[in-house]
């Protein structure tokens, strides 16, 4: 794969000295969905704003499709569509006019057939003559996406596309994103919903306090950083963890009806065989066994906590 966006040592210091980005380096591959995960104030929106030209970088460089975003801003911006976090739309405009305006602004000639296609794709065709202020919140978000897609961009930035929307609409948005990916659009989305990143991203970047902690393939990230837990359900409850099992750092749960063993999947030995053998020696009888994989959320919380420590 080739990088369509290259960010090198990007720093952003706001007036007043707040360092929003502390030297971010990131390559975004063409055709992928990259989710930037981070808590509020992590620098996600600043990073997107700097790539898109809304914020001036303090130092470092950003190249989009081979065009520097400062010196070759026209070439770079033509490739980018941006869906902002806030619903920023002119309320009095009709949906069609609003989308057509965006297309013109990005230097594209009139193409009614293309606009019709994206409005239909986003289920907005029936509302094309409605004024923006007459639409529901979900519809307005879709108008923002339609505007961002109006000039046929190769890269789409979605800044918290599902912040504050209901579950149904969130799923609809994910479907839209999947369709866009299928059509070859590179998608970068910021979110603080772990499940969103887990559901739709190919790669995940974790950003906090202006630093990119890691960028990795979603599956390998979960696998690499994931911890597994073994739940041993007991036939008879135990009052305390037997001394002979103290080395395993077990957690007693369900009023002593079960024990939890946490282990590293990447370790040379998981210790499960020895644990079960030692368990049998203590006279405890197990009725069932169950393993659980830690979620991306657990990984994320762990990473951010680690960084704060």
């Amino acid at each position: 794969m080739t990088s369509i966006v290259q960010i090198k040592d990007l720093k952003k210091v706001y007036e007043g000295g707040f360092e929003a980005l502390k030297g971010v380096t990131l390559d975004i591959e063409e055709g992928e969905i990259l989710a930037l995960l981070g808590p509020n104030g992590a620098g996600k929106t600043t990073l997107i704003s700097t790539v898109c030209g809304i914020t001036n970088p303090s130092s470092g460089s950003v190249s989009v499709g081979g065009h520097d975003v400062v010196t070759g801003f026209r070439g770079a911006r033509r490739l980018i569509g941006l869906v902002p976090q806030e619903i920023n739309l002119e309320p009095f405009l009709k949906v069609w006019d609003s989308v057509a305006f965006s297309r013109g602004l990005f230097g594209k000639g009139r193409d009614d057939a293309y606009l019709e296609k994206i409005l239909k794709q986003l289920s907005l065709w029936d509302k094309r003559n409605a004024r923006v202020m007459e639409l529901s919140g979900g519809m307005k978000r879709r108008v923002l996406i339609a505007k961002a897609l109006s000039h046929e961009p190769r890269i789409l930035f979605l800044d918290e596309p599902t912040a504050g929307v209901d579950v149904e609409l969130r799923k609809e948005m994910w479907d839209v994103v999947a369709e866009l990916k299928a059509s070859g659009v590179t998608i970068i989305l910021t979110t603080h919903y772990i499940e969103e990143a887990e559901a739709i991203a190919d790669r995940i970047g974790v950003i906090t306090k202006g630093e990119l902690l890691l960028v990795e393939d979603k599956t390998s990230l979960i696998k690499r950083l994931g911890q597994k837990q073994l739940k041993i359900e007991l036939s008879d409850p135990c009052d305390a963890i037997p001394e002979a099992l103290s080395a395993y750092a077990l957690d007693r749960v369900d009023d002593g009806h079960a024990l939890i063993y946490t282990y590293d999947t990447q370790a040379e030995r998981t210790g499960i065989t020895q644990l079960l053998s030692d368990l049998a020696k203590t006279g405890l009888h197990m009725s069932d066994l169950q393993t659980m994989q830690s979620s991306l959320e657990d990984i994320f919380v762990g990473l951010v906590k680690e960084d704060a420590a």
Binding site: S49, C52, G53, R74, R77, L89, F106
Partner: protein, 253 residues
Amino acid sequence: MNLSAVWAIYYSEMARFFRTLAQSFISPVISTSLYFVVFGSAIGSRIDQVEGVSYGAFIVPGLIMLSVMTQSLSNASFGIYFPKFIGTIYELLSAPINYFEIVLGYVGAAATKSLFIGLVILGTASFFVDLQIQHPIWMLAFLVMTCISFALFGFIIGIWAQNFEQLQLIPLLVVTPLVFLGGSFYSISMLPAAWQTIAMANPVVYLISGFRWSFFGLADVPVAVSLMAIGGFMVLCLGLIWWIFRTGWRIRS
């Protein structure tokens, strides 16, 4: 040059003008007609002539300038302030356009609207008074230059303003008094000597004087000075706008 973007902004701004036709077009026509009734007929009937021109006709250039200046200011300042206020400015900042193209779109539309209003007022005035324009080309040139330079000034106000109160501050507290005191309804020569000297510090005097000259051949200051004043004002505004976009002042963090 991204002409498509310039057109998109221009078209969108003009569409707003036609969407709010009553506010943008009918109200200045009505208020100008009222000026004619009050100043032209009621007061004008007691003033014979000013420098050989009937008072009703004499105030026409001043009235047009009054409307054109205030309309250019308000149209251009609102045009760029509104996207800032509702947040749609992000689209302008992330689009492949440079500052000159943004200015061309917004200022071009604001200037077109006020030019249109100016010409409508001229037409309305012709129903009230007998008008003869001695230098029609110059009249049009002065009108267009005033529309453009005040739209540029309005654009700066729109970027500077951080709320609606500030948006109105300069037009109401600075420009309107300067226009009223700039000889819209009288000749500067009618003022006492000391006030004539003070009036020369009012830049609007030069614009109204030049414009009035194009109608009647009468001027409070030489026409060349008027032209230099308006040209200088335009260059000053363009310089300020260039600086605003270069530094991103109040638009780009």
